[in-house]
Amino acid sequence: MQIDFLYWAECPSHPQAWQRLLDALDALAIQAEVRRVEITTDEEALRWGFPGSPTIRVNGQDIDPAAKRLPARLTCRLYYRDDGRPSPLPPESMIRRALTAAQAREQPLEKGN
């Protein structure tokens, strides 16, 4: 599994989001290649299709399906918790769902090999 953790240092939630990602990987016992990428300019935001900090992609897919509608730009990213509250942090449940889904997609391939 490949994971990209994209962040903009001006948004202070990225260390907590990073920890949530590591905790989720640990809890689900998932081995993954995790790449941390700091986005520093509008040009980089465009190049990476970065919709805001933090952004987590699992095997190239954003953990939040709503990300497809977001423009690329240097900004802090808005998430919604399961209770509907806005938050600058991706909820643990969203991270886990994305990891579990990616794991399920990978397993048939692994069995086939």
Partner: protein, 176 residues
């Protein structure tokens, strides 16, 4: 940056209510004014927005005005333009003033660095508290230190807030 004990610079800015508001007029009518540099697009502001509404609601009768000021560059962040501010205020039912600082002069005069960034003034316009609204942007149920509410209680009682300065946590002000 405006320091505790300093008199806050006056301002006159347009609001989403299509009226113009000055700090001097607000101070004349209130026992305390909480100036909060804010905006539309920032998720930290969004997370705290309902608490801003609750604070205004809880303290209106006690002579407190909460004034949100959006100084962000709306060219790079179009969600923060005046039309979008009006829309946001209407959608969320803001019960506080929401003003546009197009030139960013007010944000610079106060030394605002983040959204949200609170500057609580007493009735003389002197800064009594500066920083965050409370200590948990993500979850109101997890708040241990309601900084702004505690500071308001102190100021309304004519006392010095026990915690006068905290770090502002949020998005950076988007300068032109």
């Amino acid at each position: 940056m405006l320091e505790i004990g300093q008199k806050a610079p006056d301002f006159t800015l347009p609001g989403v209510d299509d009226a113009t508001h000055s700090l001097a007029a607000l101070l004349a009518d209130h026992k305390a004014v909480a100036v909060i540099f804010s905006c539309n697009h920032c998720p930290y502001v969004r997370a705290w927005e309902d608490r801003m509404i609750a604070i205004q609601s809880d303290y209106t009768a006690r002579g407190v005005a909460l004034v949100a000021i959006n100084s962000n560059d709306a060219t790079r962040y179009p969600d923060d333009d005046f039309a979008s501010m009006k829309k946001r205020a209407a959608e969320q039912g803001f019960n506080f003033l929401y003003l546009r600082d197009e030139t960013q002069e007010v944000a610079r005069a106060y030394g605002a660095t983040h959204t949200p960034h609170v500057f609580l003034l007493d009735s003389e316009g002197v800064l009594r508290y500066r920083g965050a609204i409370d200590d948990s942007y993500e979850d109101p149920a997890s708040v241990e230190f309601p900084y702004l509410r505690d500071a308001l209680e102190a100021v309304l009682a004519g006392q010095t807030p026990k915690i006068a300065v905290t770090d502002a946590v949020g998005c950076t002000v988007k300068w032109k």
